[in-house]
């Protein structure tokens, strides 16, 4: 549920990890975050069923690129272990 160069290299190989990272950053609307960014990309935040900013087709692409099983991810959202979009109010800057 976190994508960084290291995790992507395990899925796509070292040579293609950078390209996968850039594609993920674009698909998920993370912005131009460099691949050496310490925390990586929070894949949980974009695959969430209640995140309507990203369409389902794109979520599937993101899941495939980051090696996430969407069914397993959905179980996590339903588990009540993490705070989901239905439970928040926010203000963006």
């Amino acid at each position: 549920m976190n994508a960084n160069l290291e995790s992507l290299a395990k899925i796509h190989g070292k040579d293609k990890a950078q390209a996968a990272y850039e594609e993920l950053a674009e698909l998920g609307g993370f912005g131009n975050v460099p691949s050496h960014y310490a925390g990586g990309l929070d894949i949980f935040s974009v695959l969430e069923p209640s995140n309507t900013v990203i369409d389902d087709k794109t979520k599937n692409k993101i899941a495939k690129l980051s090696g996430v099983d969407r069914k397993e991810a959905d179980k996590m959202y339903k588990s009540g272990d993490i705070i989901t979009s239905e439970q928040v109010k926010d203000n963006r800057v």
Binding site: M1, G31, S45
Partner: protein
């Protein structure tokens, strides 16, 4: 005719300790940093999350726009305004002065951490500036099992480090993390997010 109901909003108060977390995973479009229900960053989504430890007086959160006002000769008050710049910051005084991991993470572009038998150190010189996603996470007064989050997506500490080493007082390092634009995010969501669990 009738009056209007008052809204004292007496539970929407800020009076609880906060936790400063850095090196978080940046959330995507429409998302927020993923938190476990205990209010800490979810470890699967944020494997590098770093707790900055105790503070002298908690953290100060700010979002400060600078307005440029435009005047007409015929009127004394401005006709319109625009926001020429914004500074979004989290400031605190950290007390974990001798924790070399804390020091390293405060010295982006300057500090290099190393350790071997018998020592931990941060050498000071030139390194690449690396930004981090930082959040201040605090329990809400209205329900202390729920959380408020002030999150900057891309930031560095601009205060460096400084503390007084003395017998008479406990040293602390004042820090200030300022937001930098993540330019290719959605225009309404380039710097950070202030949200709460409901």
């Amino acid at each position: 005719m009738a009056g209007t109901p008052v809204a004292w909003r007496g539970t929407a108060l800020a009076q609880n300790p906060t936790q400063l977390w850095g090196l978080l995973a940046i959330p995507g479009a429409g998302g927020r940093i993923t938190l476990f229900t205990d209010g800490t960053p979810d470890a699967t989504a944020n494997p590098t999350a770093f707790h900055y430890g105790v503070t002298r007086d908690g953290a100060k959160h700010s979002i400060k726009p600078t307005f440029t006002k435009y005047y007409a000769d015929e009127f004394r008050n401005p006709l319109i305004t625009s926001i020429s710049q914004v500074d979004m910051t989290i400031a605190a005084e950290l007390l974990a002065v001798t924790d070399m991991d804390v020091v390293k993470n405060l010295l982006s572009g300057l500090g290099t951490y190393s350790t071997a038998a018998g020592y931990k150190q941060v050498t000071v010189g030139t390194t690449a500036i690396t930004y981090q996603c930082l959040a201040s996470i605090f329990p809400l007064i209205e329900d202390t099992t729920k959380w408020g989050v002030f999150n900057i997506y891309s930031t560095i500490n601009e205060q460096g480090i400084e503390w007084a080493q003395t017998r008479k007082a406990m040293g602390g390092m004042p820090v200030q993390f300022s937001a930098y634009e993540v330019t290719t995010r959605a225009a309404s969501d380039t710097a950070g997010n202030f949200w709460k669990q409901i």
